[in-house]
Amino acid sequence: MSETKPKKTTGRVNSFKIIQAIISVLFLAFLSWRLYNVISSGVYGPDTWVRFAISGLIIGSVYAVIAIGYTLVYGILFMINFAHGELMMIGAFSGYFVFEALKSIPVAATGMSFLDSYQIISVVLAFIVGMFMAALSGYFLEKIAYRPLRGAPRLIPLISAIGASIFLQNAAQVTFGPQRRTYTNPDALLRSQGWRIPIGGEEVILTYTGVLTFVLSILLLIGLYTLVMRTRYGRSMRAVAENKQTAALMGINVDRIISNTFIISGALGGAAGVMWGIHNGIIYHFVGFIPGIKAFTAAVLGGIGNIPGAMVGGLLLGIVESLGPAALGIDFQLKDVIAFSILVLILIFRPSGIVGEVLTEEKV
């Protein structure tokens, strides 16, 4: 009996691997065939492909910023903060109200509103307030919804996170109303304006909002990476992520690190919200949900808990989601299906993500 048991296990693993390989090959063959058909049919000119790629990179960079929030919290508490998308929503609303408020302040010297007179200051203010409000919400979220459950079985804070997410959505709906609102950007950031790049006889518009979003995201990612990997503070965050008790023995205040992690992750979510508002224009109480889940997918794609992984995963997901429907010749509304199919496939075949972190026992 005892000799047959291990054999059985290896047999099972092998058959799973064979099935996995066969499915992957068939799937890739199918994808290549679709891609070949679409490209050879010439439905889309080169300008269209560039347009898709650009919008994919922009949305991907926002996903990356949100995904970092998931990954930071997961890295330290081993829980998925499902209310993270709502922090983004709070950031988006804060930025919206800053713009609205500044629009209503007249400046005598220019005869225009504050928003149009001091455009850079206005945008900076929107980001600061958006990040601050989301960071504050993140701080209280942890204090109220997660800290009392520290040490409880892992499913329980997860349920609390989903509850917090629903609560924040509904609180926003009650407070701000269910209607969709449109961001009024300052003149320099009108959503239709941008650099015009001629590609294959057509013009592709590289919008200013898109460039702002992309550049700012990359700066945030670099800043965060530097903070975590190169500073002593970041080192202490990684120490807490690895072993809370030993970290406490070093003199690290673990509770404070956890609080600060939620503050940092909230601030990133808030910045993503303001970028979303400025670039896409429309916000409402539910605006954080889909990007939140997408960013979660991105974080899983890159290997949850892994910061560079979340960055790569976010950009990759944005591009795949944007190019995917065109490349496969399917309806554009199916882009969410592509994103979530990726989530399911990654969870089944490579739960450690593409960057491939070796998970410690505690995390698994």
Binding site: E242, N243, Q245, L249, I252
Partner: protein, 237 residues
């Protein structure tokens, strides 16, 4: 006044009564050892002193100050550092980063370099491996790293939990040589060990723990001669 005074502490894990009134005193510059079998409460005693566990009854005083209500991360600033059981290396941080975390309570960069030199002198092997991810170190090197990391906090009282655990006999010897060396520089050491033979060979005094109670306390020399200790912990019939 003793440096560390543990007065009749009772510690529980949930409903399990792990320590049933343990009292220990450690004088300055001593090496004191707690010996005992599995589940005797050695580790629980250290964890209670270091603030990771809270005693339900009893007090702990360090240099006259009550510390039984102080959280673990604040005790480091008072001068108590622990090398935890199983070493507690931050496996994905490099050797240098681990040592830097050890100095977390010492914000002064100037003394940091001196401290780093000092521990590298004590453990030259660690300097060679400075940039290496510490999860890839051997068991002996990890024990060196855990000890070095604790020393980076410039402790006055060093708590060590089973430094010999999982090490080859030849390494155990060198670990204990280092412990004596550290003690000579003026650091007081409270040592928990299953390997009573080596522990009693370096310690000044010892306590024998059994099922959460101190059953014997004496100088290390007398404990080595004690019939009960010889039979139960030293393997001498």
């Amino acid at each position: 006044m003793a440096m560390l005074e543990v007065n009749n502490i009772h510690t529980y894990y949930g409903n399990i009564h792990a320590l049933k009134g343990v009292s220990i005193t450690v004088e300055e510059k001593e090496i004191v050892t707690l010996i005992g079998g599995n589940g005797a409460g050695k580790t629980s005693t250290l964890r209670t002193i270091s603030g990771l566990l809270k005693p339900r009854l009893g007090d702990i005083y360090f240099e006259g100050e009550k510390i039984s209500d102080t959280p673990a991360h604040e005790l480091v600033y008072k001068g108590i550092t622990m090398v935890p059981e199983g070493r507690g290396i931050f496996a994905r941080l490099t050797v240098f980063e681990n040592l830097d975390m050890g100095a977390y309570s010492q914000p002064d960069r100037f003394t940091f370099d001196d401290d780093l030199d000092r521990v590298y002198q004590l453990f030259p092997r660690l300097k060679e491996r400075e940039k290496q991810v510490s999860g890839t170190l051997s068991g002996g090197e990890q024990q060196m790293l855990a000890t070095a990391r604790a020393l980076m906090a410039n402790p006055r009282l060093l708590l060590m939990d089973e430094p010999s655990m999982g090490l080859a006999p030849i390494l155990v010897e060198s670990v204990f040589e280092t412990i004596v060396e550290i003690n000579k520089t003026g650091t007081t050491i409270l040592l928990v060990e299953q390997n009573a033979t080596v522990a009693l060979s370096v310690a000044n005094r010892g306590y024998v723990l059994q099922t959460g109670e101190i059953v014997l306390k004496d100088s290390a020399e007398n404990l080595r001669k004690d019939e009960m200790v010889q039979k139960a912990y030293l393997g001498i019939e």
